[in-house]
């Protein structure tokens, strides 16, 4: 553990959260979505565009860059920006790097955002446009394989075979998260589902059904990051960034991972916990990247909430429900709230720690974990540990 990372603990805070509505067709550009979410987040923080010294996002060539958003909002000479290439795996690394910039004094206040028209304009892994630029594509695409549900289904199958994880475990996770979304006015999917509904949903790529997959969503989400000192004088109760880690590890790349049932999160988790001085038992609520049902199950194991191979039974036990030992994806997650490529998980964690999550509030939540795509698609992952200030 680098000493400097320990000094970083609780130095910065999330002080504002902003959303656009989540839809299937926003009818506007990603630039417009980004500006709306950023202004909403600044308003939430009690700040204005004149306070913004830095902008950061992640994207895969599908959205407005900070260099466009800055001028569009009339920001004068932002002193720091980050235009991070990458998908969900780097979503939390963007906030981590913004927090480092703030802690280092490079920029006092930074807004992190993600704006996507992931249903109406740019579908992840979708057809009708060129294949992604990655050397790995040549070893997969000729076999009709490169869309994320295919890749995750492949790893889910390996986990099922090795550990006995069952379709019913995936289904219980989808049912539990939908029950949370029912209590979330922002969620796209608010009709309760049953395990039978899950099992009856159509096949996408076996072992995945439709209800294993997250929602292709149009929308944006933004977060305002500043110093812990400044946060104390702002409008909202601050949420401190206690730990922020990112790292490599292998991926789905050919020849890349000897054990496809363990993710890059298993290597990252000990560093994250050490940095924050916290462990799995300290976490009151977790927002775990749920591009697919299986990704939650494997992260429950790799972040140390249950033993390797026990993620499925852990979910089936009810532990991840709102009234369980570890409420997970309390907003409904990407499966039922909407998919803003990682950022709406962080926003929900902040909401839970502020205590303003309404009907889905976890009583007394003081520590939250929020995680990125655990490293199967790109060889990276990232995560944040947040604490009530």
């Amino acid at each position: 553990m680098a000493k400097r990372l320990l000094e970083f603990r609780d130095r910065t805070a999330v002080v504002g959260v902003g959303y656009t509505p989540f839809t299937k067709d926003s009818g506007v550009s990603t630039l417009t979505l980004a500006c709306r979410a950023i202004l909403a987040a600044l308003d939430d923080a009690g700040l204005g565009p004149g306070d913004v010294e830095g902008l950061a996002t992640h994207r895969v060539g599908d959205s407005a860059a900070p260099s466009l958003v800055g001028p569009a909002l009339g920001l004068a000479d932002p002193s720091w920006y980050l235009d991070q290439f990458g998908g969900g795996s780097v979503s939390h690394a963007v906030v981590a790097q913004a927090a480092l910039a703030v802690a280092a004094g490079v920029a006092e206040t930074v807004v992190c955002y993600r704006a996507i028209n992931a249903r109406s304009e740019f579908r992840m892994g979708g057809t009708g446009r060129g294949l992604p630029v990655s050397p790995e594509v040549q070893y997969q695409a000729p076999y009709g394989y490169f869309a994320p549900p295919q890749q995750y289904a492949m790893y889910a199958r390996a986990h099922m075979q090795k550990y006995g994880t069952k379709a019913e475990h995936f289904g219980q996770l989808a049912v539990t998260q939908r029950a949370n979304a029912v209590k979330n006015p922002r969620a796209l999917m608010r009709t309760p589902i049953t395990l039978d509904d899950y099992l009856a949903s159509r096949w996408i790529a076996e072992p995945f059904r439709l209800l294993d997959c997250c929602l292709e969503t149009d929308g944006a989400c933004a977060l305002v990051i500043t110093t812990a000192d400044r946060a104390r004088s702002l409008r909202r109760a601050p949420v401190l960034i206690s730990g922020a880690a990112w790292g490599g590890g292998d991926s789905h790349l050919s020849g890349g991972r000897a054990d496809p049932t363990t993710t890059a999160a298993a290597a990252l988790a000990p560093r994250l916990y050490a940095q924050a001085g916290l462990g799995p038992a300290d976490i009151d609520v977790a927002q775990l990247y749920d591009c697919f049902t299986y990704s939650v199950i494997v992260q429950l194991e790799d972040y140390g909430f249950c033993a390797k191979g026990e993620g499925g039974p852990y979910v089936a036990s009810g532990a991840t429900a709102l009234d369980g030992a570890l409420p997970v994806n309390t907003h409904g997650g990407f499966l039922s709230e909407g998919y803003v490529h990682g950022v709406n998980h962080i926003a929900e964690a902040v909401s839970q720690l502020r205590g303003d999550a309404g009907d889905r509030q976890v009583a007394g939540a003081e520590v939250a974990l929020s995680t990125a795509q655990p490293g199967y698609i790109l060889p990276a992952t990232s995560a944040l540990l947040l604490r009530k200030g």
Binding site: Y139, Y143, I204
Partner: protein, 144 residues
């Protein structure tokens, strides 16, 4: 009854890069090659310049038997790309020749793969100096 499976998209051709160009050329000639490090003799796939174990650049191709075991598979029930006739199977194979290495491929069998099943590669000529590598059960051709 064994289920009949369709075929993957036919029109998606790989775009070889400077590291992989010769590997694809060898595959087109029905040779399955991996790189072997001259210094520490570690085998690796896919092709790239440096040995990840000893970080040296000198290596040579080693033709190996395309053989391994089934690590996982999916049955695609959506076309995903134009030209597919679903359902089609994609398999993840643990290569015997390269410890810890997994490789994707098409499935050349008329029933579903099994976890841990021994498989061997089958070259599929796609025309214009391109072959792909599909997989089938090892005993497939030996059965009477």
């Amino acid at each position: 009854m064994p289920e009949r499976y369709g075929r993957p998209p036919q029109g998606v051709r790989p775009t070889p890069d400077r590291d992989s160009k010769d590997w694809w050329a060898r595959l087109a000639g029905h040779e399955f090659a991996v790189q072997r490090c001259d210094t520490c003799h570690t085998a690796r796939f896919p092709p790239r310049a440096f040995c990840p174990v000893c970080r040296t650049e000198d290596w040579r191709w080693a033709a190996v038997e395309p053989a391994g075991t089934v690590e996982s598979w999916i049955v695609n029930r959506r076309p995903f790309m134009p030209g597919a006739s679903e359902p089609y199977i994609v398999v993840l194979v643990r290569l015997a020749a390269v410890p810890g290495c997994l490789i994707h491929g098409g499935w050349d069998g008329d029933r579903e793969p099994e976890y841990g099943q021994a498989v061997e590669g089958v070259y599929a000529d796609m025309g214009d100096d391109l072959a792909l590598l599909n997989w089938r059960p090892t005993e497939w051709h030996a059965s009477p």
